[in-house]
Each structure stands twice: as structure tokens, then as C-alpha cells.
Amino acid sequence: MTISDNLERFAGREVVDFGPDARLDRAPDAAYRLKLDWDAYENGGTMVALLEQLLAHPRAAELEALLIGAWDFESSVEASAWLPTLCAGASRLPRLRALMLGDITAEEQEISWIKQSNVGPVLPAFPGLEVLHVRGGDGLDIDPLRHERLKTLVVETGGLPRIVLERVASAHLPALEHLELWLGTSDYGYDGTMDDLRAILAGGRFPALRYLGLRDLGLRDSEVADEVAAAIAGSPILDQIQELDLSLGTLSWEGVSALMRDPRLRNVRKLDIHHHYLDSAAVARLMALGIEIDASEPQEADEGQRYCAVGE
């Protein structure tokens, strides 16, 4: 899964870049993104300076949704370089409801090269936060993972560190409705186990949870996707999930058939498996369940055809 574009929408709002030309005149209706472009970065610009500019803005208090984009192009600056500035300025952003840390394209910084940190301090700093979206697993932690009002937690990684799975399994997020974790692959830092995942699937911890996404489940030939699907079958959490997202992965019939053996799958309103390795017959059997299913972007194992270089 390559992320080629910045987000155009976030938390139900259009995203606008904050900068000399774009003031905060569209807050609170638009989400604002702070990012260093290449020229600014080369000229010594920093995310701290951008944040200070935002925090000093007279209309900052109206801002409800904020995205942090590229802050580095060389994998040399960790998020902890600017996170304290954001947290310390929380009183300047009293209405902030949605926060994205790492709206960064693959060209700017591939997902596994983004230098994250412990982003947990934003939770106590912004007690009104409802949406937290983080991209990048390298160095990532979310401690403490406790928040009374957080409804949406999205963690996109090329390889989710086990510590984050453990934080989620022991989290206090009573209002959480949407939990989305991109597990990724061991090549890029995924070191979780099925036991870690089962602790999350045991349910009970997230009474309000309706959407569960365990996405980006490995490279072809990885068995994680099928194991995850099989573990969801029979797990308590399936009692409460209305939308199950196993997309962007390597799901095959093995995992899907295990999932289908649990009759509660019919109570799920939507199942998303787009980008999968099922053949059309298997997709047809899944469709026969009668629930809403996204089985687009079927993949095929591909050996890669060779070509002759021709002069151009």
C-alpha cells in the first residue's frame, strides 16, 4: 500500500494547507494541515516554527481539525521534536476535536521511514479530542492510551510495533467507536503475535466499538491476514462490530472461509476486504451472505515480466 497523496478530507472536513497564503479564515469548517515543503525544509524551516505560527494566530481558538504533514525528508527528525510544542500550546486550541500526526506521502517519506515517537501526551493535552490518526510505526508508542471522549483511533503503519498492540489491549477508551490498525509486515517492524491480537478481539474494553479495521495485513505469502480473519471468528468482539475492515491485505479463501463459519458474520453490516487474493468463485460465496461487501481490487500473484530497455 503506497500512500501517494495527502488527505483531501479529514474528520469530515476539507483539508487546507496552512501557510503564508492560507490563513485560518475557514476554521472551524476546514481542517488545516501544517507541512514543510522541500524548499522550506532546505531553507532550514521547522515544524516547531510552523506550529508556533499557528498557535500565535488570532483565530487558532476556532480550529477543530489539525493535520501535521511532512516535517522531515531524511528520516532524521523524530515527532518528539515538535510534539511538546503542540501539547504546550493546547490552551490555544481549545476546540480541537481531530488530530492527524503524519499526513505524509511516500515521496516525502515512506510510511516505514517516518520517525514517530510516543504520541500519547496529546491525549491528556487535548481532553476534547475525538479523532486521533497517526501514520508511521517507527518509534511509535501511544502512552498513556487513556481518553474519555476519543471516538476514532487510526494507526497506519508499514509494521506496527508490538508495544502499540499492547497499549490498545490495555487501553481505557470508553467512547471508542472506530479502531483501525494497519499491522503491516515484519519486514517493516511488525512484531506482534496472535495472542496480542486476541487480547484486543476479546472485547469488553471498548463498549462503544462499532468499526474494527485490521488492515494492511502483510505481503503475499504472509499468513497473518488469514490468521487474523480466523481469530475474529468466534471472538467476543464480533457481537458488537457493525463494520469489519480486513482490506489492503493478503486475505485468501483460507481466512475468509474460517470467518464465514461464524454465523454472527451475517450481523455485520459491512465487510471490506478490498485488495485481496480471493478468486471470483470465493468472492461469489462471500457475496451470498447477503451483507454489504467490498471485494474490489482482487490481486494475483505476479512473477513480473521482463523487458528490454530501449533507448529513449
Binding site: 497523496d5 524548499d39 521482463r306 530497455a309 533507448g311 529513449e312
Partner: protein, 374 residues
């Protein structure tokens, strides 16, 4: 106007050019195969006697010619990695294999010099290509140096490296962790490596397929872009391709539009930027045969960069001015996220193969013939 075209017979490029000539009602171009211009071969025959103009096409797509050019490169440059002429002629066809790029170039350059020498005897004949300029454009080090000397914005150059060890040293000196590594004489993304390395972690994204066999490591052009992150794979890729020289430049991130990162191919004809095509990719490599999409330059307007297109075209025209004897130059230009800085990545001698991509209702070849007729 009677054209002579130096090229590979039956090549699609010759056919498309011939169609444009026919549309204009001019006599069919006479093809002189590269193979005839090798030492000891028949040469031009009578072709130049009735010619009004000469065009030089790509030598690609002909293995017998490729082998002869490698043989012709033997003994030159004092390069110990070079094959003898006999060894070169004994090479078997191995579809997509990347090998002997430097020696091929040395052979090709000597054929270009022979063409140049012959054309000097025919001052009345119009040349739409310059053998000397083609030789520069097919050498990325020489090409980027020339562009820089002409004040053209380019990606910051880190020079030529020949091994992984040398690459690591070079990146340290420049304080950067990401670079594009391009075989000095490659084309069509062949052997291009998008490299990242920080701490003990390295990664290469490329269309190269690395095959380990009894005879060692072999590299092939693949249509599938893949990522290598095992240290021995990364080292072997750089070491093997480094034998023929790898041109290294800083990896300036590309802007994105419509869910894809992109760079821009601008065909400059007679000094003016014409056919302009966004090459939209989900990988760091934008070449179209790798499954990437063509994008209309109007996409840039919707991305809010009305002035960006002008700056891209200006950069392409500036690059073409470094090659004043070439009627057409296919310039690849990058624009950084935020649609800020532009940088010229390549100036291609044979960059006009953009069939069906019209500018002012014209194919690339018709635009060139217009310029010739003017």
C-alpha cells in the same frame, strides 16, 4: 524533403516517423541501419547523395546490434571489466538482462563519431539530430554536468559511484539518506535504484530483478517494481550496477496529484516546449512501461499550480538550449511537493516516442516536421 533515418529497421519509431512524413506528402524516408555503419560494413551507400535531411533514431531493440556495439567498445577506455570483441560476439540473448552498459556506450559513441565525420562531408544536408549531442545525452554524468553548466536547475548531483562502499561514503559527505542511482548509460528506468539508507537500515525500490545463480548475480529489467531491504541484496545491486558507473543524485520528493506522484515529460521541439505529459506513478519510478499512467497537464491547474506548468516548461526549454543542434529533446522535469522547486532529471535524445499524445492536434513527429519545413 528527403529524409535519411539512421535506426533499426522495422522499429516502431521508424514506422511512426515514416507515417508523419507520408502525411506531409514527402517521399518515404530512406533507412540506413546502424549495423551498416559499423566498421567493415557497407556504410551509407548512396543514401546521402539524394538526402535533404538526416535523422538519427534509437539503436535499441536489436540484440545483434547491441552485441556488435559491445564488441566495438572492446579495448577502449582501458576498462578491465570490458569483454574482448570475441567474448562480446559470443554473448547469448538473455531477455531483459542488464549488462555491459559502459562498453555498449563506448561502442555506440564510436559509431556516433563515425556518423558525425561522414555528415561533415555533407554540409548541405540538414541534420535534425547531432551525433555529438546524442553522445552527451546518453551519458547521464556528462548530460547533467552540461545542464548545470548552462544554469539549468537539476537535482543536486552526487557524482558517479562504482560500489556500495563508495555510495555510503558519498551520502555521508553530502549528509543525505536518499538518492536516485542511475546507470550512467541506461534508459527506460533500466537499472535505476531509488535508495534510502539510515543507520543500519537500507532499502532500494527498483524495476531490477536480482537473480542469484551458480554464475553469481544476474540483473534483469522487470515490469514489476519491487523493494529490496536485505543488506546483501542492496549491496549486490549497487556493486553489480556500479561496475558500469552509477550516476547519483539527491532524491527530491515529487509532488502528487490525483493520488499519484508524478514527474513531467516535456518534448522541446526547435526550442519550444510542446508535448507535455504527466507521468503518474505510485512508485518512485515514473516510466510509463512500468504500468504508470499518462496525465494531462491540465491536472496541474486543478492542483492549484497554474504557474507550475510554466516553470516546468521553462526549465525544459532551458535544458534544450544546452543542446542547440538537436531539433527535439525529451526533457523529464520534477516538481517538488507544494509545486515549488523544479529540477530537470534527464534530457533524452530519443524522447519523442509519445504516440497518440497530441499537442496542438499534432503527433510529436508532425511537430518536428513543421519545424523542419519552417
Amino acid at each position: 524533403m528527403r529524409f535519411v533515418v539512421v535506426g533499426v529497421p522495422d522499429d516502431r519509431r521508424l514506422k511512426l516517423f515514416g507515417e508523419a512524413v507520408a502525411r506531409r506528402g514527402w517521399p518515404a524516408p530512406r533507412v540506413v541501419p546502424y549495423r551498416d555503419l559499423l566498421p567493415g560494413r557497407p556504410g551509407w551507400g548512396t543514401a546521402l547523395e539524394s538526402a535533404d535531411a538526416v535523422r538519427i533514431e534509437s539503436p535499441g531493440g536489436d540484440f545483434a546490434l547491441e552485441r556488435e556495439l559491445i564488441a566495438l567498445g572492446a579495448g577502449a577506455d582501458g576498462d578491465r571489466s570490458f569483454l574482448s570483441a570475441d567474448e562480446a560476439r559470443a554473448l547469448d540473448y538473455d531477455h531483459g538482462r542488464i549488462r555491459h552498459g559502459r562498453q555498449w556506450y563506448v561502442g555506440f559513441r564510436s559509431v556516433l563519431a563515425r556518423i558525425e565525420a561522414e555528415l561533415e562531408r555533407w554540409p548541405r544536408i540538414l541534420r535534425t539530430s547531432s551525433p555529438a549531442e546524442i553522445a552527451v545525452q546518453c551519458d547521464k554524468a556528462a548530460c547533467q554536468e552540461r545542464l548545470e553548466a548552462h544554469g539549468v536547475p537539476i537535482a543536486p548531483p552526487l557524482g558517479v559511484v562504482r560500489s556500495h562502499e563508495e555510495l555510503i561514503e558519498r551520502l555521508e559527505v553530502w549528509g543525505t539518506t536518499r538518492a536516485f542511482l542511475k546507470p550512467r548509460h541506461g534508459s527506460s528506468a533500466s537499472g535505476v535504484l531509488a535508495y534510502r539508507g539510515a543507520g543500519d537500515r537500507e532499502q532500494v525500490t527498483t524495476s531490477v530483478e536480482l537473480v542469484r545463480g551458480a554464475g553469481g548475480v544476474a540483473l534483469y529489467n522487470s515490469l514489476r517494481v519491487r523493494t529490496y531491504s536485505r543488506p546483501e541484496d542492496v549491496r549486490d545491486l549497487v556493486d553489480v550496477l556500479g561496475t558500469d558507473g552509477l550516476w547519483v543524485e539527491r532524491w527530491i520528493p515529487k509532488a502528487s496529484v490525483a493520488g499519484h506522484a508524478f514527474d513531467v515529460r516535456v518534448l522541446v521541439v526547435a526550442g519550444r516546449a510542446r508535448h507535455t505529459m504527466l507521468r503518474l506513478s505510485r512508485s518512485p519510478l515514473t516510466n510509463l512501461h512500468l504500468g504508470n499512467r499518462r496525465g494531462d497537464p491540465a491536472l496541474l491547474h486543478t492542483a492549484g499550480g497554474a504557474g507550475a506548468l510554466d516553470r516546468l516548461r521553462d526549465a525544459a526549454e532551458a535544458a534544450a538550449r544546452a543542446f542547440p543542434l538537436s531539433l527535439h529533446v525529451g526533457v523529464d522535469v520534477l516538481i517538488a511537493p507544494g509545486l515549488g522547486r523544479v529540477a530537470v532529471l534527464e534530457a533524452n535524445a530519443f524522447g519523442d516516442l509519445l504516440p497518440g499524445w497530441l499537442h496542438d492536434g499534432q503527433e510529436t513527429y508532425d511537430a518536428q516536421l513543421d519545424a523542419v519545413a519552417a
